[in-house]
């Protein structure tokens, strides 16, 4: 479930990045690469788990599924927070700089 949620987040971010390309004011490329990286890593994890559990892997207990869904959503939220911090620090649009300097002038 965590893998699924992250893959959906990666796909949505990639579509949004493509829609805005070649502009990268929101650094959506960075966010989608983060989610794709995590998705690939969880895919490997899933393959190893499948090799161990076989068909049982596809029939998780409802409580485990709910926990994994909660984890997946938390992971997406954390990814968004990391991206937001990077965006505000790098400030490709110069918005943060503009706000800081306009306040200093007043």
């Amino acid at each position: 479930m965590t893998l699924l949620v992250t893959v959906f987040a990666a796909v949505i971010c990639t579509v949004l990045w493509y829609k805005n390309a070649p502009k990268s004011e929101l650094m959506l490329g960075t966010l989608s690469l983060m989610y794709w990286g995590a998705s690939l890593m969880w895919l490997v994890d899933a393959v190893f788990e499948y090799a161990e559990l076989k068909a049982e892997y596809f029939a998780p207990a409802p409580a485990d599924m709910l926990n994994d869904l909660f984890l997946g959503l938390s992971v997406v939220a954390l990814g968004l927070v990391i991206w937001l911090v990077i965006l505000l620090i790098k400030d490709p649009k110069g918005a943060v700089k503009a706000v800081v300097f306009s306040r200093k002038k007043q």
Binding site: T2, T6, P22, G29, T30, L33, M34, Y35, W36, G37, A38, S39, L40, M41, W42, L43, V44, D45, F48, L71, S74, V75, L78, G79, I82
Partner: protein, 135 residues
């Protein structure tokens, strides 16, 4: 257990390599490419920029994976930080997982990045081929 540590190590190496390549590239002027149909002239992506794609995937992926380990209680904010490290039997299992799952994770992300670089190079070559015909 601690499989995310292998991509973290790779990410650190890639970050250093990216800095080194970027400094070397500063001296060289990157070629400009005319993007067909759009009327835009784009700069050929420098290799350091491509290395940043890999760096973003590795750092981002391992950060999110580390969070999953915190979620499952495998990583704790006190020494030795990895719960498996306090027991020798569990530590051996952890090292085995790092050598199998962790290394595979790093390899899969790197292979995906190599695919991205190959596609990007193909697009650059096509754009460069189309350039003399337009002029």
């Amino acid at each position: 257990m601690a499989c995310f540590l292998v991509p973290v190590v790779e990410a650190a190496v890639v970050a250093v390599a990216s800095r080194f390549v970027k400094n070397k590239e500063k001296a060289l002027e990157s070629a400009e490419i005319h993007v067909e149909g759009s009327g835009i002239t784009e700069r050929k992506p420098a290799f350091s920029r491509k290395l940043r794609w890999l760096s973003n995937m590795l750092w981002g992926g391992s950060a999110l994976l580390a969070f999953e380990h915190v979620w499952h209680g495998e990583v704790v904010p006190w020494f030795p930080f990895l719960t498996a490290a306090s027991d020798p039997a569990e530590a051996a299992e952890m090292l085995h997982e790092m050598a199998t799952v962790g290394v595979t994770m790093a390899v899969v992300v790197t292979v995906a990045w190599l695919g991205m670089v190959a596609v990007s190079s193909l697009i650059e070559k096509r754009a460069l081929k189309a350039l003399p015909a337009k002029e």
